[in-house]
Amino acid sequence: MTATTTAPASRRGRRIVLQVVIGLGALAMVYPIVWMFAASLKDDSAIFSEVGLIPSAFDLANYVEGWNGLGEPFSTFFLNSFLIAGLAVCGNLISCSMAAYAFARLRFWASAFWFAVMLGTIMLPYHVTLIPQYTLFFELGWVNTYLPLIVPKLLATDAFFIFLFVQFIRGIPRELDQAAKIDGAGPGRIFLLIVLPLLRPALVTGAIFTFLWTYNDFLSQLIYISERRLYTIPLALRAFLDSSGHSAWGPMFAMSTLSLVPLIVIFILFQRQIVEGIATSGLKG
């Protein structure tokens, strides 16, 4: 009798403790990000003396200074990053959905073999192709343009998305294709009018992750882009760090904070798709 009355009380107690621990842990996780935002509003001397978050005076001077800190305004770098990421999204969605449709629905010679090859390229470390790709783009005169960052997406090199789309298309009832076929539609029309509209949830996932990866990508932008006018956000931040060294943390943090805003906005808007994408297919977040 006593056991049944004390158990819920102690369970509730434990639950409250758990809730508090989890809550504190969550705060600790996001503390560095919030701290950076707070630091971006402080002047340099306050950044190094204040651990707390509330700046003694709100001051947007760091943002003004940082925005024009590299000669070109940061709007240029944001536009460059968005342009590359946007084109990469288009390229990936078009090329990977086409390949996925072929693998999932069409019967062609050696399809199983090519499918296995495609799977094999997913886990391949990009370092083995990095240098020959560079020499190829160098020979083509594409270094210091955006082409090396975009053209590979049009050629479905992010094979992971092919796999993601294949899985999704396999879940679309074949009866829909069959019905269209009876009505005289060829594979091209079936793809455009039936498969593609139904593939939309997977396309959204593909678009989100392509954008996140491209926006955060540093190595290939570092290798291919050297002219300041063409800099993307990661390159601009690195150049800022190099040029200002330890003297200008405030403007540095201001621009770093701004650079995270698109990521956070996308996270807030598409949290469900991002979490599902990671949970169901192991997309790296």
Partner: protein
């Protein structure tokens, strides 16, 4: 139920193979795959072969590659202490960061799975760093936080530590700031764990509770065994990811891998050899060795998985 439908599909497949439509479908298949085929030949398979060839040459981008046999590999294994150093740094990074990251991910996932109120908010907060931590902005932040006058040292001085070191400038500590950054990204394996935990039927817990099993026993007897496929997936994904880490080391060390090569990740060394020293033949050899190392680690994991990963389809 699926029997007749499947049989019907088989019949239609067999019929269509001889039907006139089959040849046009063959053509359509290759048409839809054209972009991928071009990519495969020009950007994946071709470059793989070319980089294998480069790895046996002396090649400095502007001159033609000249064949030097296995000299790159010999130099790497016998003379190049930076190769061994970067390999050691990377292995330490991977072998410390990945287990810690997965342990945190599992711990928090299990705690969150207890039916807390506001699960989605907590999940979002724990996940957010994974989304951001790969960016240059966060590496910049890390550089300040663990610098000589960084916020970590402000706190340490406040609690009475006199003259704490600059963590990123001290060879003994610099790598650990990078490991900490990696561990902080435990949100994405956590999300995968949460999805796995949800697959475990609640009846199992109810039945074992009736049998008198406590929470700890339940974790080790039910949760962990049933979750091993998900643990395995996470190990593979995080291992491959950690081996290829680059951004954080580049930004925090200012592109050098310093101090004293203590943050010289393998990928960073490869980058420096290829794109600042323009030893592209040697860098290609480094790339192939990296692929072999990652392949070995992955293969070992698959072999070991037979002994600890439980699949619920019975006899496997």
């Amino acid at each position: 139920m699926t029997g007749p439908a499947q049989a019907g599909r088989e019949v239609s497949r067999r019929r269509s193979r001889s039907a006139p439509g089959a040849r046009s479908e063959n053509r359509w298949g290759y048409l839809f795959l054209t972009p991928w085929f071009i990519g495969l030949v020009v950007l994946t398979a071709g470059p793989m072969l070319v980089s294998l060839y480069y790895s046996f040459t002396d090649f400095a981008l502007l001159s033609e590659p000249s064949w030097i046999g296995t000299a790159n590999y010999e130099r790497m294994f016998t003379e190049d202490h930076r190769f061994w150093g970067s390999l050691g740094v990377t292995l330490r990074y991977v072998l410390i960061a990945v287990p810690l990251q997965l342990a945190f991910a599992l711990l928090v996932a299990v705690a969150l799975n207890r039916g807390l109120r506001g699960l989605s908010v907590y999940r979002a907060l724990y996940y957010l760093p994974s989304l951001l931590a790969g960016s240059v902005a966060i590496a910049v932040l890390w550089r300040q936080v663990f610098g000589r006058e960084g916020i970590v040292n402000v706190v340490l001085q406040f609690v009475g530590v006199s003259d704490p070191p600059s963590w990123i400038a001290e060879p003994d500590y610099a790598l650990y700031t990078l490991i900490l950054l990696r561990v902080w990204e435990f949100g994405s394996p956590m999300v995968i764990f949460l999805a796995g935990l949800r697959q475990i039927p609640a009846e199992l817990y109810e039945a074992s509770a009736i049998d008198g099993a406590g929470k700890v026993a339940q974790f080790f007897r039910i949760t962990l065994p049933l979750l091993t496929p998900v643990v395995f997936l996470n190990v593979i994904l995080q291992l491959i990811g950690a081996f290829q880490a680059f951004n954080s080391a580049y930004i925090i060390s200012g592109g050098t891998g310093g101090p004293l090569d203590s943050t010289l990740f393998y990928t960073l060394y490869l980058y420096l050899e290829a794109f600042t020293n323009f030893r592209m033949g040697y860098a290609s050899a480094l790339a192939w060795v990296l692929v072999v190392i990652i392949a070995i680690f992955t293969a070992l994991n698959f072999l070991a998985s037979k002994y600890w990963v439980h699949y619920d389809d019975g006899d496997r």
